[in-house]
């Protein structure tokens, strides 16, 4: 089955910040070898990747003072792109061992960026570059996810929109272990502090996957969006049919209208048979 992917990304510095430390990346990946004609059934090739292509979607929200934050999110995205360029072109298998290898390499790429940022940091000068990262590698129909921090990924099936990621913040952690109520977390200053970040004092990448169906959609965003746009509003905008660009621009516009206190990055992905 040929599936068409419509994707769109946009970022904005918002209404308050001077710089934009959010970055995003959308990549189409394809193999250089394509079977043009054969007496064999296409199923025999076991080559989903070559037929439908792969796609990489990344958002990253840099933190850490001045240009350091921008460099952090840029560095994370560039490293992932390098990883994908080098290795993912060979990935065309559903086998558990190959998938585990993929996860390990993705994780190790993230840890490599983390170590580099830790070395580069200079806390004495107020430079502790760090970044969030939410990345989806889509090799149809499987969407592989790696996530660090409080940027988010959502999936849409029909009109139902669900959050794929959980924010890695102190507030979320305290609520999870029952130490704080939602109300306490909403009042507590440290609640928004990242409990895991690339380049931060803690790094706990979360990996996962989901098999998509034609018609499903994905949305990746930084917290500049979710600070100002409620889950209900996200479900209403992203949950309704519309091309990726229209939906992406609408979400950005909602975040700006809601205050735009932070940088915003959003990627919208639609699939269709």
């Amino acid at each position: 089955m040929t599936v068409m992917i419509d994707s769109f990304g946009i970022t904005d510095k918002g209404k308050v910040r001077e710089n934009n430390q959010d970055n995003f990346l959308i990549v189409d990946i394809s193999k250089s070898v394509a079977v043009r004609h054969s007496s064999l059934s296409r199923d025999k090739f076991g080559n989903r990747f070559g037929m439908t292509g792969g796609h990489l979607f990344v958002v990253a929200d840099g933190v850490g003072g001045g240009p350091a934050g921008d460099r952090a999110s840029e560095g994370a995205i560039t490293a992932l792109l390098g990883y994908v360029t080098e290795t993912v072109g060979c990935f065309n298998s559903y086998s558990a061992s190959r998938e585990h290898e993929l996860f390990e390499k993705l994780e190790s790429t993230v840890r490599g960026v983390h170590d580099k940022l830790r070395e580069e940091g200079n806390p004495a000068r107020g430079e502790s570059p760090a970044t969030t990262l939410t990345m989806v590698l889509l090799i149809w129909p499987r969407a592989y996810l790696i996530h660090v921090g409080d940027s988010r990924a959502y999936v849409r099936r029909g009109s139902r929109v669900q959050q794929l990621t959980r924010d890695q913040t102190i507030g979320e952690y305290m609520i999870n272990i029952g130490a704080w109520t939602e109300e306490q977390a909403a009042r507590a200053k440290p609640a928004a502090t990242l409990s895991s970040a690339i380049g931060g004092s803690e790094l706990t990448p979360v990996v996962g996957l989901i098999d998509l169906e034609p018609g499903d959609g994905l949305m990746l965003c930084t917290d500049g969006l979710t600070k100002h746009v409620t889950d209900d509003r996200i479900a209403s905008v992203f949950g309704n049919p519309g091309d990726a660009e229209t939906v992406g621009r609408q979400l950005l516009s909602d975040a700006l209208a809601g205050g735009g206190t932070d940088n915003i990055a959003v990627i919208v992905v639609n699939s269709a048979a």
């Binding site: 558990a96 061992s97 499987r142 959050q163 959980r166 609520i175 999870n176 990996v207 098999d211």
Partner: protein
């Protein structure tokens, strides 16, 4: 390094994610968040003198609108079926879930975790229900993701079975 894929399978809200969280991080989450797709964790264990990495695939729970996605269990070396002891219907559905899984991976070492055993006052599984939830060759035990009871034992049993079973069949 030996690597084994272990899948957590069950109806929604039975505590699959909490069991993994307790086993891997030693914490219990009081906030219920349903899993979407699959979340993958890793745990290194020892089986005899061998280092084994368990890749723990925490599958989204079966609910009224979605079933277990067979492609998620492909290549699994072991399965943990999870039922909620306070909801007998979740144990009754295990037979059906087992059929879906074995259609894909055949007979692999499996554990049945009758979870939420800390909720003793709300426990609704009769001795017959508990008996019926199992099948020959499957290891059945009561677990609590909250207190940790039975959690280590469930995963360790499966790790040993997947490693030693594989060796015997060589």
């Amino acid at each position: 390094m030996i690597q084994k894929k272990i899948c957590m399978v069950g109806v929604y809200g039975t505590g699959k994610t909490c069991l993994v969280q307790q086993y891997v991080q030693g914490i219990f989450s009081v906030k219920y968040l349903s899993t979407v797709g699959v979340k993958i964790d890793r745990k290194e264990v020892k089986v005899g003198d061998k280092e084994v990495t368990l890749m723990l695939w925490d599958l989204e729970g079966r609910d009224g609108t979605r079933d277990v996605n067979q492609s998620y269990v492909r290549g699994a070396h072991g399965i943990i079926y999870v039922a909620d002891g306070t909801r007998p219907e979740t144990a009754k559905q295990l037979h059906d879930l087992r059929r879906i899984v074995t259609d894909e991976v055949g007979e692999v070492p499996s554990v049945i975790a009758l979870n939420k055993f800390d909720l003793k006052d709300e426990w609704r599984l009769s001795a017959d229900d508990e008996e019926a939830a199992g099948a020959p060759g499957m290891h059945k035990l009561k677990t609590s993701a909250k207190t940790g009871e039975g959690v280590e034992a469930a995963f360790q049993w499966l790790a040993e079975k997947t490693v030693n079973g594989a060796e015997k069949s060589r």
